[in-house]
């Protein structure tokens, strides 16, 4: 049998997916990053700074928590990887710490980023405040209205929040605006992309920074469960960074099965969905060849999900490859199922999850696991940012 490699190749491809489909204007920036990211991140002082900040500032390692009551309910062994306990409330900061350290070593003076729900924007604004670097966050004009508390947090952290007024005025357009800003600032600016998306080397670089999650899970499962390694690893997928992070060290170990959870919105066939693997076709978005939701004419369409962090019309190229090669099982979860799962986790375990994260927990209603299976769920973020949505939904 042919052995599969799930990591990126030298040209930036995962199987058929990935690459750098960028205009010539972006080439100097992307080349500079590609030529330097592995070199810089391999340096001792980089690794020390990264590890120290993750430990003392972010609060790593995050616990692996055995969820007794969920395990009883679903008759399997459920462990929660508590990324919700990271500073700023989600896994996003693992990546922004890594990228800002890299940006400093590249001599960059200014940081830009895109954000949808505002979690990545907050994580970027946070590290910029920490390092004293000017920060510009692009956010869809519609999302700015929907996510007022996170906009306020970014401002309080010293970031300038610029509304993206083009196209559909949401995450994909904010990403376009950030890329355009980068084109217009080819020398002094680093673009901290928020997920495992965009042109090579971004997907690989972000996956590496997030891979700290799977490194920890590996030792924690060995120490805390009766198994040597997990049977299942499960995560929600927007762009795919929390998923890539928790899969990373297990990708080439077939004993560990992986499950990706997408947002079905109101239902995969309702026209209001973000289930990219089900609805997408191969194409190019934000410089990457991957699966994306688009019209027959090749125009990118606007996805829908109740969670702003999952309504991205593409998925990272690594995930497209995991899907196409069947390494990963994909399950889509509707708004209602996710909201119920979020409610249940709050009531059973005293943890209010981000709505993105809640999608992963709804899988237990769909899929049976063996009683002795060790199932690790990435609890990618806490639900504070989503209180308004929970309040409206449950009439709290």
């Amino acid at each position: 049998m042919k052995t599969m490699n799930y990591n990126v190749n030298a040209k930036g491809f995962y199987g058929d997916f990935g690459g750098a489909f960028i205009p010539e204007m972006l080439k100097p920036n992307v080349d500079e990053l590609r030529e330097n990211y592995l070199k810089i991140t391999a340096q001792k002082d980089f690794q020390k700074d990264f590890d120290d900040l993750l430990k003392d500032y972010v609060g790593r390692p995050t616990p692996l928590y055995f969820s007794k009551r969920l395990s009883e309910k679903y008759q399997t062994q459920i462990y929660l990887k508590r990324e919700d306990l990271c500073h700023t409330g989600a896994h996003k900061i693992n990546n922004t710490i890594g990228q800002i350290l890299l940006a400093q070593r590249l001599g960059k003076k200014r940081i830009i980023a895109e954000t949808g729900a505002g979690q990545h924007g907050v994580a970027t604004a946070t590290v910029c405040a920490l390092m004293g670097m000017p920060c510009v966050i692009y956010m869809g004009a519609i999302d700015i209205k929907r996510q007022a508390p996170n906009v306020a947090r970014m401002k309080m952290l010293g970031a300038k929040v610029v509304p993206a007024e083009s196209g559909s005025k949401t995450l994909k357009d904010a990403t376009n605006e950030a890329i355009r800003d980068w084109i217009n600032h080819p020398e002094d600016t680093h673009y901290i992309i928020g997920s495992v998306v965009g042109p090579h080397p971004f997907p690989d670089m972000v996956a590496r920074f997030q891979s700290v999650i799977s490194q920890e899970v590996k030792t924690q499962v060995k120490a805390q469960s009766r198994k040597e390694k997990p049977d299942y690893i499960m995560a929600c997928v927007g762009g795919g960074s929390n998923a890539a992070g928790i899969y990373y060290d297990f990708l080439n170990d077939k004993d560990v099965k992986i499950i990706a959870v997408e947002a079905a919105g109101k239902g995969v066939s309702t026209g209001e969905s973000a289930a990219t693997s089900q609805l997408g076709k191969q194409g190019i978005i934000h410089g990457s060849k991957t699966l994306l939701m688009q019209s027959d004419d090749g125009q990118i369409t606007e996805p829908y999900s109740i969670s702003a962090g999952l309504d991205y019309p593409g998925i990272g190229p690594m995930h497209a490859h995991l899907y196409a090669s069947k390494r990963s099982e994909f399950i889509s979860i509707t708004d209602d199922e996710a909201m119920q799962a979020g409610w249940q986790l709050s009531q059973l375990e005293g943890i209010i999850p981000a709505i993105e994260t809640a999608h992963a927990f709804a899988v237990f209603e769909h899929r049976q696991f063996q009683p002795d299976d060790v199932v690790v769920v990435n609890l990618s973020g806490r639900g504070d940012k989503d209180l308004q949505t929970y309040m409206d939904y449950f009439k709290l």
Binding site: G19, A20, F21, I22, P23, E24, M25, L26, K27, P28, S166, G167, K172, D173, N176, I179, R180, I183, N184, P186, K281, Q282, G283, I284, I285, H286, G287, Q294, D296, D297, G298, Q299, I300, T301
Partner: protein
């Protein structure tokens, strides 16, 4: 011979105009091309609108959004211009983004535009090296020119490499590191860049684009280069004056 190749042999400086197909109105496409030819424009770039035009500034973005709302699509455009060669003999280039071409099928796209009489393609996010490796043959088989962009950041070595592939077409020289329509006139820095490229004595003619908006910038851009491309400024004029303003716009540039 490809129409671009023969046009570039003419001794004058060339004026090329970009417009977004389907803007301001869906059915304006053929009328705009005719009027541009009548007004003495040397070459036309027909913009195939895209939902996510990364390399474009606000003017072209907005015209693209409007054009798509109006109902423009790849197939619609090809239908509109299928008989274009009955009236038009200046070179025609399609400028768009790679994803719609990919969905249409790259080879099929090349075949169909060549049947229509299109002479070349500008696809900013189809990288040069990827094109060379995977799609050069598709272009060559249908006598289509790939027009490659260079910027002030492009290395001399890469420019010389691109030069070898662009001899019977032209190199699209982006005036500064920016999206379309971003500048207000050329600064010292850009003029120096124009001089620098001229000093390389490239085999391929160069046509400058991005930031050309009037008679002054046209003459600055074409001091050394073979021609210049106007996009955003033309779209603004179309928006304000409609197709009836085309002749005056072109005159004002040439003046």
């Amino acid at each position: 011979m490809n129409r671009i190749t023969s046009k570039l042999k003419e001794s004058k400086k060339l004026l090329s105009i970009y417009f977004t197909a389907g803007f301001p109105k869906l059915e304006d496409t053929v009328e705009i091309i005719k009027r541009l030819q009548d007004a003495g424009v040397d070459m036309v770039e027909i913009g195939l609108p895209y939902s996510d035009p990364l390399a474009d500034g606000p003017t072209i973005q907005q015209s693209s959004t409007k054009a798509l709302k109006n109902g423009m699509s790849t197939r619609k455009l090809f239908e509109q211009i299928k008989d274009i060669r009955d009236h038009i003999d200046i070179p025609l280039i399609i400028m768009g983004y790679f994803n719609p071409m990919l969905q249409y099928g790259v080879r099929q796209f090349c075949h169909d535009v060549s049947e229509i009489g299109i002479d070349g393609l500008i696809m900013p996010d189809l990288p040069y090296d990827y094109w060379l490796e995977y799609h050069k043959k598709d272009y060559d088989d249908f006598n289509l020119k790939h027009i490659q962009l260079i910027t002030p950041q492009t290395s001399e070595e890469r420019i010389k490499n691109i030069d070898q592939q662009s001899k019977d077409a032209f190199i699209y020289m982006v005036s500064s590191s920016s999206t379309t329509g971003s500048q207000s006139g050329f600064a010292e820095e850009q003029l120096n860049y124009f001089d620098k490229i001229a000093s390389y004595n490239l085999d391929s003619p160069q046509i400058v684009g991005f930031g050309i908006k009037d008679n002054i910038t046209f003459h600055q851009a074409t001091k050394h280069a073979k021609g210049a491309i106007i996009g955003s400024a033309f779209i603004k004029a179309l928006e304000n004056k409609g197709v009836n303003g085309i002749e005056d716009f072109v005159k004002s540039i040439r003046a």
